[in-house]
Symmetry: C2
Subunit: 373 residues, 2 copies
């Protein structure tokens, strides 16, 4: 193939050549030029959520999950009690990491094909006054479902509870305005809708919350309060930063701004998602979620019931045509997922649909209809 | 300048163009081609310590400190007791992270300008039977002092204690043979003597130790047992890997092997260190450590007593000539540090000395002699 395979995955994803070329320089992590890269990046990240007056942003080495764990460890005191709104795999992961680190954790479960409910949250907060924080996934990447952030944040605010938002796969694509949505912490990462490369996360924390978070963390590496205080004082990261990843993200954010910021990105991803869903439906595939709760980030499709379908062979046949799919993450129903994010547009999504059609033909999959159509 | 500034820092450091260019491709973290990159990298890392029969290697997202914390969290049970051999800043960091995560920790301190002592360790293990593990820094980057790994490992083996080695700045340059040195865990990272870019660490763990480590970790992200079991089963990282960093490290390891492996790297770094120390001494600078305990990784020099010397101005003047120095990390004595590692040779070290000479002249530093010469 002349070009690299296009990643239809929810991060890592396809980045621009310009973003990758920003990694062709070595940076001294202590040097003023790298300190300036970090400072500018933090300024631009804060601006994306309109959080300049209310929040700080603390970057952290590692994957997005490291940043989620760090947010819980730093924000929730050891005596705290976290209620996790659960409608998918990433919600369960949040619950698991909170439990492991010794925070009291309660799971409020829902089916995977419906959004979490602010009304159920309201009732749960009414019923158990010991809950101090709510853990919430904005777009549950396990299925692609969009959860109601404003209503959940309003319920937390009414009850005076802290809110930790995992906005990993929504940040920079879906609108998030810290002036309207009250959150204690909101977590995202480099290799998602900002279209950087993976290797760092970042957490927006409300000013009064970060100031009161000293000593909460059981972990040195994941102590966002310590990272924040050190960075404010020196401009540096506490421990060796992933310098090339940081430089690539700074370059990716420049392109994000040039494109028109979050509204432009949402428009492109929405067009990607529409091109994908329309094309796949025309081939007979059935999306797992109802359209009104589908975020334009990643789409789960039912696997075809046709006996000629086998995910691994299907994946390889689509890959041979230049596109990388993503496996499903549901236990009850066989599915696969296709990401709509990355440095691609509707033209590439149409090519992806054509690749799927070609793979079906090659493998002799006569019908894309699922078992329970 | 025609070329980028050369980093005389202990990681991030100067990498080859070939290593950086390996980051010009996006990888699907679930894809077989990336699984193959990870598998090959793990095989080659194990071979460097001759650990194929005795150990596994578990990579981890984040900086080296994340991997050190993960090693302690995974290897030391919650009821364990860690004795930390302390002769510098990174020893203290190990002690601090073990304490924070709730492991009982005892510090056995020594001066910063002498190696830790296996005899003192022996006496300490004799005196306190509750100690279960010893934490040890091979080359303490705070000063550059080489600590006696074989003698420390032998003492631990005699007493039946576990040993966790932070080999961050020695791995791949100094000889480490798992067939001769008995360790439970040994930690290093991508952006050090393998000359990759920063963003991931890796931990060698003895087979019986990793098998017994389930459930020790208080942290989901840092659970090396969980990471290991998942990787053995699927070939994948549990959470999003820093794909570009991994690809760069794989490319860096290929060059390491081509160069002649650890002996060749040690020879080059030793030549770098000799060129640096000889040149700096000729300018009147005095190394902080005695030559026989100086590792050829990073050299600490006393700051000149000359009133015209100011580290920040000195740093900027050397940087203007194309070389990035590193600040000292001692509280008692004013120093600065110069790394000998990275994709550079003695020619670059001589240029660095010339840059220091030029900076002295520009700033009017008449003498490099320290206060207490």
């Amino acid at each position: 193939m002349a070009r690299d395979a296009i990643l239809l995955t929810p991060g890592p994803l396809t980045t621009t050549e310009r973003t990758k070329r920003a990694m062709l320089r070595d940076w001294g992590s202590w040097d003023s030029s790298f300190i300036a890269v970090t400072a500018e990046l933090r300024r631009q990240l804060l601006a994306i959520v309109h959080g300049e007056e209310s929040h700080v942003v603390v970057p952290l080495q590692g994957s997005g999950t490291f940043a989620v764990e760090a947010a819980v460890a730093t924000i929730v005191p050891k005596s705290g009690h976290v209620l996790v709104l659960d409608n998918g795999a990433y919600c369960k992961r949040l619950g698991r990491l909170a439990t492991l680190m010794g925070r009291r954790t309660t799971i409020l479960g829902r089916a995977e094909d419906v959004p979490v409910s602010a009304d159920e949250l309201d009732a749960a907060l009414r019923a158990d006054a010991s809950i101090t924080h709510v853990g919430f996934i904005h777009c549950e990447t396990g299925t692609g479902v969009l959860n109601p952030m404003q209503a959940v944040a309003d319920a937390c605010a009414r009850h005076g509870k802290g809110l930790i938002v995992d906005a990993m796969s929504s940040f920079a694509a879906l609108p998030i305005d810290a002036r309207e949505v009250r959150f204690d912490a909101l977590v995202a990462a480099s290799g998602k809708c900002l279209e950087g490369v993976p290797g760092m996360g970042f957490v927006f924390v409300r000013n009064d919350v970060i100031d009161g978070a000293a000593g909460n963390s059981h972990s040195l590496a994941m102590d966002l309060h310590d990272q924040h205080v050190y960075m404010e004082r020196t401009g540096q990261w506490r421990f060796t930063p992933p310098t090339h990843v940081v430089a690539a993200l700074a370059e990716a954010v420049r392109q994000f701004v040039e494109e028109g910021g979050q509204p432009a990105r949402l428009a492109r991803y929405s067009a990607n998602c529409a091109a994908l869903v329309d094309g796949m439906k025309a081939l007979g595939f059935v999306p797992f979620l109802a359209p009104e709760i589908q975020a334009p980030i990643i789409v789960t499709f039912h696997a075809p019931a046709d006996p000629a379908y086998d995910f691994k062979r299907f994946y390889e046949a689509v890959k041979a045509r230049g596109f990388i799919l993503y496996p499903g993450k549901l236990t009850q129903v066989e599915t696969f997922r296709v990401g709509c994010i990355g440095a691609i547009g509707p033209a590439e999504m149409k090519e992806a649909v054509a690749a799927v059609a070609g793979a079906m033909k090659e493998l002799g999959i006569g019908s894309a209809a699922p078992a329970r159509g």
